[in-house]
Point group: C2
Chain length 358, copies 2
Amino acid sequence: VTTPYEEIDTPALIIDLDAVHANIAEMAAMAAGNGVRLRPHIKTHKMPELARLQLRAGATGITCAKLGEAEVMADAGCDDILLAFPLWGRPKLDRLRALRERARVRVSLDSVEVAEQVGTVGRRTPVEVLVEVDTGLGRLGRPPGAPSAELVREIARVPGVEVMGLLTHAGHSYKTTSEAQLRQVAEREVTDLVETAELCGGLAEISVGSTPTARHAATVPGVTEIRPGTYIFNDAAMLRLGLATERTVAARILATVIARPAPDRFVVDAGSKALTSDGVGVRDWIVVVGRPELHMAFLSEEHGVGRSTPGQGPAIGERLELIPSHACPVVNLFDLAYGVRGGSVDSELLVAARGKVR
Amino acid sequence: VTTPYEEIDTPALIIDLDAVHANIAEMAAMAAGNGVRLRPHIKTHKMPELARLQLRAGATGITCAKLGEAEVMADAGCDDILLAFPLWGRPKLDRLRALRERARVRVSLDSVEVAEQVGTVGRRTPVEVLVEVDTGLGRLGRPPGAPSAELVREIARVPGVEVMGLLTHAGHSYKTTSEAQLRQVAEREVTDLVETAELCGGLAEISVGSTPTARHAATVPGVTEIRPGTYIFNDAAMLRLGLATERTVAARILATVIARPAPDRFVVDAGSKALTSDGVGVRDWIVVVGRPELHMAFLSEEHGVGRSTPGQGPAIGERLELIPSHACPVVNLFDLAYGVRGGSVDSELLVAARGKVR
């Protein structure tokens, strides 16, 4: 028994399944056309059903950030998982050991210290690792070239691990302001890794790619794997980058106007507890679907405050669909989403990997 | 069976129960000393155990933002609840009706339209309502004085509701930069409401107060009720306002350093999925407990990137306690918290009202 769209209580997370299927097919065809493997990051959806759709469409495995996400996805039948986060400490190593008994697991890391911990799990069969390289984000990894090549050599000497290749995340691509700049970031993330791998005498895996860079990076010689996540849903950041249209944005927050306290102001029942504070201060950080004349001004936890031309805004009781600034953390705020098709509810989707902080 | 502090896996939400008890006692004594009722907002903790502590210390009831929170708290025995959010639509009105059968419930609102909906539930016994007034935040409510007095008169004519008083939330107090300015905001939130109530011929309830304004507002003649929330845990925003010290901050995120990719950079396993993006861009928006020399630079979803003097930062594997910018949405990201006392785990606290978006 599902709920008719008109009866969905708000705020609610709505997933347009037609857009999801189209987004999955497009990225899978792009990867196949360029001969690169696609390993989507499931942090965007956190839903086993959608991971299965991605695998059925040709993804060769999935990427997870946390063991808790990987365990949920293994329960759902995913048997090839990249854990793209350095693991530390006995509880996580025990869980890694258990996870390896039911899935092929790779781990990314950027230090000898973490490699030595992970290696304790690989005494019989070495743990496959990807060494993370910093291609400009300034988060994990050493710079490409000699510093990373030296790290690869050090890690290769650690018992219990086997270096399979290099990995990077060009998260700074989200801040590019032109197609040319975006292409440059994407090309650099691949060539930085390819050149570093050459210094190491060649490595099997060159794993790159965010949603912004994936379509460019897939065309650069040497790349073997792309790991986009957001493409399945898209969000306001993808709209700003020109990588999505309102039609291809699959994740929306359905909200109700609960106040019109001033002629130019309306308030909806979705605040940062439904939309997060990601992107605050950015132009058009939240988009009201089909209503370009409405602009969100600020969010409290439970209130979304919007502005309109005086007297022109929506009435109390009207329902609006909001495109969040950043889809991934928004999905993490909901236990359940409504999958819609052609304007009616098709299914309820459990956000099974929500809240897996560890 | 509880987990020793040293064995808590990270990232984890840690609640210092000694600080919680002291914070609860201090606010309760302050309210009692000024002869005002204390109705804490439970959105900060979302934990039935802590609501019971607040009530036992003298709170006369609780404030909730959502019906889902109120239902959880009613299950836990809270029988006097202010729902400080305008309700709209059949599912919520049905739940309000059911909730009224097991608790005294008041609702705040700022329009005739919402009052008419709420009134449908009050045919036999009118629903007690507080009319929200805008004392400067620019969110809900009309301006104080004549505009709000006129609204009160219109709402008073709606069948099924009984106007008990006025309510405001001076959320702009979080942006004050001096004690004098904060006191001014607090005094204004009370006097604005008192003057508006006089235009209405007097009203029983004058309900104000955020954590920043509560201690000042409680001293202003005419106030009857204060509704602070954050005071139970405090956070980096309260540190900046001078209303808390590291010792009185009860909610922390325990994190592990998982990388040292550069001499001046460390990365912990707590990003915006544990700390939210609230407060990004604000000076000292996240504080590392006992380590003033460490500064957080930016958060990804799973990574917290910090800076130190080159070569002076924490080692891989070291554990840090981080004070979040804003406690309330952080608590909403965890299913479970660890209650600690004197450095060891005392209990596991269920965040039972987490994720109650509706």
